[in-house]
Symmetry: D2
Subunit: 402 residues, 4 copies
């Protein structure tokens, strides 16, 4: 197996999490070059993580001769430029989320990497959490039957760097920052081959003194009739709320990635310092997550990326996925303004065009559909039926078997 | 204190739950007369619960001379007629949910009882669960600050009687059946004095062979900028999913009323019979609720109703509340068709007209608003600010205090 | 149905909880007389709860002519005297837990009430919680198979009145105060007809400046081989920890009565005042229980007591049960000193003498017992067997069926 | 950083988990040689995991010239012999749990590796779970104050290979198999420098047709007065129950490693195959753990082992720890027979001898100790005090501040 030498662009929280992930657990792949606008910050970061080379020039960092993979951990408004430079240098690219600020920007990046023929991965970490990956496998195995609904929720007290709060630099507010995760999680559960048709979105600035939205709720309707639902907020109190739910005709899954994971701690004196990302309280009942980067999907994500690079395959999350997410977000912003459902504009669609909402009803006997069966408190059994031709409803009550 | 003699209209699941509630716990108030279309069913019910009088004629039941309160536990399409008869007989009325099939029907009922000057209660049990009542008290005490969002979710495998599945008799599908609960729960959390302005609703028939919707999601926007969110389904697998969440500027509440209440049971052999309302599995991990009627709010609801009758006050939930809920549901059905936000038409509005979305930003110093504060993994503290006049964003990083 | 008029002895926390329970929920049974050593306290209590008569003389209170039931909510060292007076007056008695300070004291009370032929109930509320009652029903239905182990845990930061901390008045420390609950809960799960044979107990004063134990762990061995396990502490931080577990050959149950009941609240500003019994924090994540008295079993307990009085039957918990609990506690204190298993001395035993540890092994085929079956990660199935005569162990590995 | 070449002894479940851990996540360290008694099994395993060399001769495997570390994943009765061979070959050793079948055996292994001067690690994975490591850090930071009690519980339906059920080969039953984990987890929480003084243990064969115990509960008393509690069973139904709790004077921690980790799945049709180690049901509510090997501590354990090897330091868990655990287990078996507390015989003790139970009481004022403070339901505050010299108890009640 190969060893990858990585150039990390950015020394913020995300660059820290990525580097922490890559350098722990005795992995083969190492950060070889670090870029920051500030030499002081680059030096400090390099020293902390044992990184040989530092840069304050973006192109020079990317062109570091030993580096074969570039990780983009920069503010959203710098992704496109970084992608251009990487493509020119012929380096593989792993880009943090969201891919672009708009679908147009994301599409340009997609075209650049495909034209250059370089490897591209979209660092959508939350699609890679241990629970999400196992859930996706169960969904693919049919454990839930036909998927009807997927809800993904991310809410916390707001991001940790100034540029996130600048609508121009970030490309929006909580939808761009958090909704990109939720949209892609739901899309994975519903199926990437299924076309997202239209969206309905509410967005508001409920609390913060900013131009962008600090809260939003959105519905994404897919070609098979399934609904993706996202809820995002920068106003949530109590920590980082990361929950997903999926429901199908045969079952459902509930995931809590961060606040209720089987780790509960009460302290009257406090831990003294860092509890977990976005944690708010220091005493009383706390809910520290076991292994933060693992629960957030970082290790699995990088393993998939590097394995795909070596296998010559595409990772689970590529620039194309980032583009679809941006297209859905664009429609969300439009809907929030027009106050009606808006179509998702996908100039490039690589999924299926043959999926529709058609469904099959369960038959009770030749003449009736079965609507439902229920055991009553007195243990009688009730069966609700519908006549196939007349449409007439009826019910049977069956006494408890002796 | 008085003893009430009740006429129960209907011997279905809801009539059973109501009677079970009233006759347990050594209460003073008793069901004195039971009405069913079937004499056989009335007799059986009367025998089971020790009820002296049985009727198959609705008006005669209501006019039973010893009865002073009538509980309407009939299919939705019979509520209006029953209200008319009770008003004519001058009896107090407690009507199950939803009040009407439409706002027009509900408004007519409201006018009838107000004109007749009789006591009227709206049996919205889920607003009375122990957890909901305590949560409402906390919200009123300001524990969550300004309320921003309230989510209420009810989902299960579908109702237990044929008429629920008949769009005409029921007045709709899952929205009318389950959404009426969710809408009123959110409205209680956001505040009954706050006007619901407009709604956005998605509704679909995803699984069942019926005309009405079996799934829906709705957003209700209130005058203070808060959002009520409901999710309802008749396609949910795994039991009865009854969860609420409320979030405000200072905190949040999460409630699970039925599936995760601190009672977990694994059995390889089964319980043999009834587990809980809408339960689906009989072996493996089961989650039986401790005291079903109590967790569903029935005892608290009747206590409030009878106490209000004696105090000459209005109960927490009256016909007016039922009317508001129906008006919101009407707007939901319209929105589901027009695919845009639809105004809530309230010809009768008794809340405040002086509430708007205006908000106050938190100041950091004279020149800046505080956007947020966060402890980073390396224990540095970050403060994000916005200049009050220039709007410029900035951040301060403060090293960990020694 | 009858209406009972109750004399409440004691105005402390337990008297408050009992009265709150009896006077809420529109019950028929009312507190008619209240006794306190202090007239001021009695008056205040009477006013708060609408109680007609007040007393500062114990015998006079008991002999209030309208009263037919006396509830003993006094410190442990006054139970015996109160029982004597009630018996002399011929009044029914409901006595709070523990019945006595020792088995000798409890036995004397039992003899007094049986000689006087009066109704007697043991107010072991935690055997009556909604979850416990439903669990007991499941256990009786065989849902868990043969019961092997029952663990009951009660821990909190210590009791609220001075006399609890006085070893002489209370009869001990945390074992007498909390262990009495745990012992009886486990005994209910294992079966009241099964004789408790011997106990092993560790007790220590780990934190508090007191003579009695503030922490203890005990094992109670029953005639059928089942083990009851209790853990009690007055040093627990974080609220009132009330959890039970039961395991049998076919399943298990886990109960959380107070801290994790599906009610979670985060507040950065606090609730302002009372959260729940023994709650410690006022901000951050709090876990207020929905309906405190209900979750603690008070309403169900009084319903059982009064129904039993009317039916001429014995309540689920009688003075005999209180006596057995005291006998087990006596053995615990002895074991804590001798550091070995000590027999439970039961001069009066009314359960079965025919239960032993004999068990039946599951056969795999004529020649082998089945030890276990397991699915391996590679989906092969393993079966572990023991030869019935040679005792030889063997295993079979079966490849996954196609 | 170095790359280690590992010889894996054993191809059972534990060998599989170890290899899975080492070969996933793009680690530098690889299994280079695999030993099995059966060539067929060795070949199959080698092929599945990409291992170059296979052996059926133990010594030859250990002496594979490229191998520098040997992992012992053999039945308990073969550990000592394998250690001897590794020491003779001068290879570093990582030995699975328990180290020996008895303290004598473990002590011999300890002496062998120390005499040979080779690196030795004790593969106590459950001390390395993400939640345990973070909890240990919190405990060391003082978040819980002085530790009073640590409970560790492991229960499942029994092990997957025949030799575990053979008392002679395994060295015992559930105590040796599962208790070794629990004992060491509690010891970590209480502090490895604190001497375990004596144990009290109940052990029984409640269900299975075996000679060894299938259930046990034990208490381990430490020199500082803290109590370690373990509960183990091979009769538990419902999956693998892995829970720990720790309580101190300032707080407590509750961990659930396997069954309640924020991943809940309901399926009416099943997953088709492997759910998780020891899972029992295939439909209904299932609780699959996200990343099984990670939640069980394997990756963190190997990282610590290999990092320690490179740093020339000792890993968190060494053969000495394994020896202490065996000594505690020996005392448990003795206590189970003698039915009294038995001293832990530690011929080699490397911790502190200066720790005792002395404690400091909290003062309320110069004359009184504070026993406790509580807010009552009516919001009055109660303070319980003890006079420092007279020992007299008293209480103050303070009305709610306005």
């Amino acid at each position: 197996m190969k060893t990858h030498k990585i150039c990390m662009l950015g020394t913020g929280l995300i660059g820290t999490f990525y580097t922490m992930t890559l350098h722990n657990l005795r992995g083969r792949d190492r950060v070889h070059a670090i870029y920051s606008r500030s030499q002081e910050r680059a030096d400090k970061f390099a020293k902390e993580w044992g990184i040989p080379n530092t840069y304050t020039n973006l192109d020079a960092a990317i062109r570091d001769p030993e580096v074969n993979v570039v990780v983009i951990g920069l503010p959203n408004n710098q992704h496109l430029e970084a992608v251009r430079l990487c493509a020119a240098a012929g380096k593989a690219i792993l880009c943090t989320k969201p891919l672009g600020r708009t679908a147009a920007e994301a599409k340009e990046m997609l075209e650049i990497v495909e034209k250059a023929g370089i490897f591209h991965g979209y660092l959508e970490d939350l699609a890679y959490t241990p629970k999400t990956l196992k859930s996706l496998a169960s969904v693919k195995n049919g454990a839930l039957g036909r998927i009807l609904w997927a809800r993904s929720r991310e809410a916390h007290p707001g991001p940790h760097s100034d540029w996130f709060w600048d609508k121009e630099m970030a490309g929006g507010g909580a939808i761009v920052d958090l909704g990109c995760h939720c949209i892609e999680i739901a899309r994975n559960f519903i199926g990437k081959e299924v076309r997202p048709l239209e969206v309905m979105c509410w967005a508001a600035t409920q609390v913060k003194p900013i131009d962008a939205e600090d809260s939003a709720i959105g519905l994404v309707k897919y070609a098979n009739g399934a609904i993706g639902q996202f809820e995002v907020s920068w106003n949530y109190r109590g920590g980082m709320d990361l929950r997903d739910e999926v429901a199908g005709t045969e079952g459902n899954i509930r995931l809590d990635h961060f606040l209720r994971t089987g780790f509960e701690l009460f302290t009257s004196v406090g831990l003294g310092g860092y509890v977990a990302e976005k944690a708010e309280s220091e005493t009383g009942w706390l809910f520290p997550v076991g292994d933060e980067v693992h629960e957030l999907g970082y290790p699995n994500m990088f393993v998939d990326m590097f394995n795909a690079m070596e296998n010559g395959s595409s990772p689970m999350e590529s620039f194309y996925d980032g583009y679809v997410v941006n297209a859905i977000i664009d429609a969300c912003y439009k809907s929030a303004k027009t106050k009606q459902w808006e179509p998702v504009q996908l100039e490039v669609w690589r999924g299926s065009n043959d999926i529709d909402e058609s469904q099959v009803f369960e038959s009770y006997d030749e003449e009736h559909y079965l609507i439902k069966t229920e055991i009553l408190p007195d243990e009688r059994k009730k069966i609700i039926l519908k006549h196939k031709t007349s449409g007439e409803l009826s019910q049977k009550v069956i006494d408890k078997a002796k």
